[in-house]
C-alpha cells in the first residue's frame, strides 16, 4: 500500500509544481488574466505563499508590503478594465535603490534606514502606469557596493539553490525572489555586474541595458556614468516585454537616450542563422572554474547547431578591466555619496559599512590633488581604449560570449571577508565603462547543483539582438525553467 501512496503524493507534488501560476511566462500570464482563467489576486497570493515559506531563510526583502494591502490592490485591478499592457496585474519586486513614494527606500544602508521618498523613480512610475503591482523592495549590497548581497545592513541574501551560499550582488534580493517565485519579475540595477552576477548564480535571466536606454531618475546613484536600470525575469522574452515598458527618453534624466525604442517583442522573431558569436580567449583561461567553462562551451555548441558561427577572438585589454572600472567607479561614488550628510534626510556618515567606506576613500584618494592624473585621469584614458577594444571586437562578431563569474555562487562570508576577492568577482562584468548591453542567461548546473549563467554582449543599443539570441537559446534548452522549490 505504501508505494501506491507515495506515488500519489509524488504525482500530486508534480502536479502542484506544474500548476503553479508563477511558472508561466509573462505572455501566458497576460492572456490567462485576460481570459479570466485566473486572477491577479491568485498571482499575488501565490507570491506571498512562497514568501511566507522561503523568505525567513532567503532574506529577500528590506521592505515587504503588507499582504492584505497588496491583495486589495490586486482585487481592484481584477475588477477594472485593464490598461493595454502585458504587465497589467502582474506582481513585481524592485531593488531598494529606487525611490518609491511613501515606501521606505534604504539602498540597504543604515544611512537611509528611515528615509521615505517624496517622489517616484521614473522606472517605478512606468510600471505602476502599466498596472503592475509592487510586492516589496529587495535587499542588495548597500549602494550597489558588492557582488554578493552581503554588504547590507539588513542581513545577507541567501541563495535559493544552496542556503549556505550567497545570491550574488548587488541585485541579489531580486534574483533570489524570482528564483523562489516570489514575484513574476524584478527591476535591478547594473553598474559592474549587479544584474548579471546574481542572475547567473540564481538561475534567472537578466539584462544589463545600454547606458541611457532606461531613465535613471530616482535611482540612488552608485556610479552615475555606468549605472543602468534593467529587467530581471525568468526568460529573455519576459525581459523584452519589461524593457518595452521601461525604455525611452525621460526629460528628468538628461543622460537618457533619444534613440528610438524598437518593438522588442517582434524583434525576437526571424532567424539567428548566419550570425557570429565571438569568444575572447582571455575569458577562458586559468582562474575560471572548469565546470563553468564546459557549460559555456556547450551553450556555444548549441548556438552552432542553430547555425551561428562561433569564433575565437582576442581582447588583451580585458586584463585592465577591473582597475579601470574600480578607479572610475570609486571616484564617482565618493562624489555621489558626499550628499549623505544626515542634514536633509537620513542618518550621518558614521553609518556607512566598511566596504562602502573603503570605496569612498579609494575614490577620494584617486581624485585628490597629486593623484588625479595617475589614477582618475589614467582610468578615463583606459576607458577610451576599452571602448575601442570592444568596437574592434564587434567588427569580428555580432555578439561576444563570456562567463559571468569565474566561480559559482560563493559561500557566505567568502567575498565580504576579502575586499580584493570581492573586487575581482567583477572581472567579466566590469565593461560597464563602455556602456554596452549584456544579457545573462542560465546554461546549466555544476555537479553540486549550483546554477551557471553565460553573458552575451553586443554593441550599443543591440538589445534586440541579444534578446533574440537569448530567446532562441531558451527555445531549445530548459535550464531557465528549473527551480529549487
Amino acid at each position: 500500500m505504501l508505494p501506491e501512496n507515495i506515488k500519489v503524493i509524488l504525482w500530486w507534488t508534480q502536479f502542484l509544481r506544474i500548476s503553479m501560476l508563477l511558472e508561466k511566462s509573462i505572455k501566458e500570464l497576460a492572456s490567462g488574466l485576460k481570459e479570466k482563467k485566473f486572477s491577479s489576486e491568485d498571482l499575488v497570493r501565490e507570491c506571498y505563499e512562497n514568501i511566507e515559506k522561503l523568505n525567513p531563510v532567503l532574506n529577500v526583502f528590506v521592505t515587504l508590503r503588507d499582504k492584505d494591502e497588496v491583495i486589495k490592490e490586486a482585487r481592484e485591478k481584477d475588477k477594472k478594465t485593464p490598461v493595454n499592457s502585458l504587465l497589467y496585474g502582474l506582481p513585481f519586486v524592485i531593488k531598494d535603490s529606487y525611490n518609491t513614494k511613501g515606501i521606505r527606500t534604504t539602498a540597504s544602508s543604515k544611512v537611509l534606514e528611515t528615509y521615505i521618498p517624496p517622489y517616484n523613480a521614473t522606472v517605478y512610475q512606468k510600471l505602476l502606469d502599466a498596472g503592475a503591482i509592487l510586492i516589496g523592495k529587495t535587499n542588495m549590497d548597500a549602494w550597489g557596493h558588492g557582488a554578493s548581497s552581503e554588504n547590507t545592513d539588513f542581513g545577507p541574501v541567501r541563495n535559493p539553490w544552496d542556503n549556505s551560499r550567497v545570491a550574488g550582488g548587488s541585485s541579489g534580493g531580486n534574483a533570489a525572489a524570482i528564483a523562489a517565485r516570489m514575484a513574476v519579475f524584478g527591476i535591478g540595477e547594473d553598474t559592474g555586474g549587479s544584474i548579471r552576477n546574481p542572475s547567473g548564480w540564481c538561475n534567472i535571466t537578466g539584462l544589463k541595458v545600454t547606458y541611457g536606454r532606461v531613465s535613471r531618475y530616482g535611482c540612488i546613484a552608485y556610479v552615475s556614468s555606468f549605472d543602468t536600470v534593467g529587467p530581471m525575469a525568468r526568460t529573455a522574452e519576459d525581459c523584452a516585454i519589461i524593457l518595452q515598458v521601461t525604455a525611452g527618453k525621460d526629460p528628468l534624466d538628461a543622460t537618457s537616450s533619444p534613440e528610438e525604442v524598437p518593438d522588442y517583442g517582434s524583434r525576437l522573431n526571424g532567424d539567428i542563422k548566419g550570425m557570429t558569436i565571438g569568444m575572447p580567449k582571455e575569458c577562458y583561461g586559468e582562474g575560471v572554474d572548469n565546470e563553468i567553462k564546459s557549460l559555456i562551451y556547450k551553450a556555444a555548441e548549441q548556438y552552432a547547431k542553430l547555425g551561428v558561427e562561433i569564433k575565437e577572438i582576442s581582447m588583451p585589454m580585458l586584463e585592465y578591466g577591473v582597475p579601470v572600472y574600480y578607479l572610475i567607479g570609486t571616484s564617482e561614488t565618493s562624489s555621489n555619496l558626499a550628499r549623505y550628510d544626515g542634514i536633509r534626510y537620513g542618518n550621518g556618515r558614521n553609518k556607512f559599512t566598511s566596504e562602502t567606506m573603503r570605496r569612498i576613500m579609494l575614490g577620494t584618494y584617486a581624485l585628490s590633488a597629486g593623484y588625479y592624473d595617475a589614477y582618475y585621469k589614467k582610468a578615463q584614458q583606459g576607458r577610451t581604449l576599452f571602448i575601442k577594444e570592444y568596437a574592434k571586437a564587434f567588427t569580428q562578431c555580432d555578439a561576444i560570449l563570456m562567463p559571468i563569474e569565474p566561480m559559482p555562487a560563493t559561500k557566505l562570508g567568502e567575498l565580504i571577508g576579502d575586499p580584493v576577492k570581492n573586487m575581482l568577482a567583477d572581472i567579466f562584468t566590469c565593461q560597464t565603462p563602455v556602456g554596452i548591453p549584456s544579457l545573462a542567461v542560465p546554461v546549466g548546473f555544476t555537479k553540486s547543483n549550483l546554477p551557471v549563467g553565460m553573458q552575451l554582449l553586443g554593441n550599443m543599443f543591440s538589445e534586440p539582438l541579444l534578446l533574440k539570441l537569448g530567446y532562441f537559446y531558451q527555445k531549445v534548452t530548459d535550464w531557465h525553467k528549473k527551480s529549487n522549490l
Binding site: 528611515t114 528615509y115 521615505i116 517624496p118 517622489y119 547606458y211 541611457g212 556614468s225 526629460p251 538628461a254 543622460t255 537616450s257 533619444p258 586584463e319 585592465y320 577591473v322 582597475p323 579601470v324 574600480y326 578607479l327 565618493s334 558626499a338 550628510d341 544626515g342 542634514i343 536633509r344 534626510y345 537620513g346 542618518n347 556618515r349 558614521n350 556607512f352 566598511s354 567606506m357 573603503r358 569612498i360 576613500m361 579609494l362 577620494t364 584618494y365 585628490s368 595617475a374 589614477y375 585621469k377 589614467k378 582610468a379 578615463q380 584614458q381 583606459g382 576607458r383 577610451t384 581604449l385 571602448i387 575586499p419 580584493v420 573586487m423 565603462p433 563602455v434 556602456g435 550599443m460
Partner: protein, 101 residues
C-alpha cells in the same frame, strides 16, 4: 604585494578620511591602511596601459549640453521636503554652526 609594505602611510589615510568626512577609529585606520594598500597595488596596473595622446572619456552617451526650456515646473511642497529631516526649525533645515568667533 610584499607583506608589511603599505603603499599608503597612516597620514595619507587620515587625510583622505578627513576629505571624505569619515571618522575612523584607530583600528579602522590600521585596517583601511592595509586593505586600501592592497587594492591600490592591484589598480595600479592601470599605469602599464599606454595612454599617450589618448583622450579621456567621462561619459558614453555621445550627447552634450542637453537643455530644456527655462520654465518653472511643479515642485514638492515645503512640508514634504522637510519631512525626512532629523532637525528642522520653522520651515528650515537645522545645521551645525560652521563659523566660530
Amino acid at each position: 604585494m610584499p607583506k608589511g609594505k603599505n603603499i599608503l602611510t597612516t597620514d595619507i589615510v587620515k587625510h583622505v578620511a578627513t576629505l571624505a568626512k569619515l571618522d575612523l577609529s584607530a583600528g579602522e585606520l590600521k585596517s583601511f591602511q592595509d586593505q586600501l594598500s592592497s587594492i591600490l597595488h592591484l589598480v595600479e596596473q592601470v599605469s602599464k596601459v599606454e595612454t599617450t595622446n589618448v583622450e579621456p572619456t567621462s561619459q558614453v552617451t555621445g550627447m552634450e549640453n542637453v537643455m530644456r526650456e527655462d520654465e518653472a515646473g511643479v515642485s514638492l511642497p515645503q512640508d514634504e521636503v522637510l519631512r525626512n529631516a532629523p532637525r528642522k526649525h520653522k520651515g528650515y533645515f537645522v545645521v551645525d554652526a560652521i563659523f566660530e568667533d
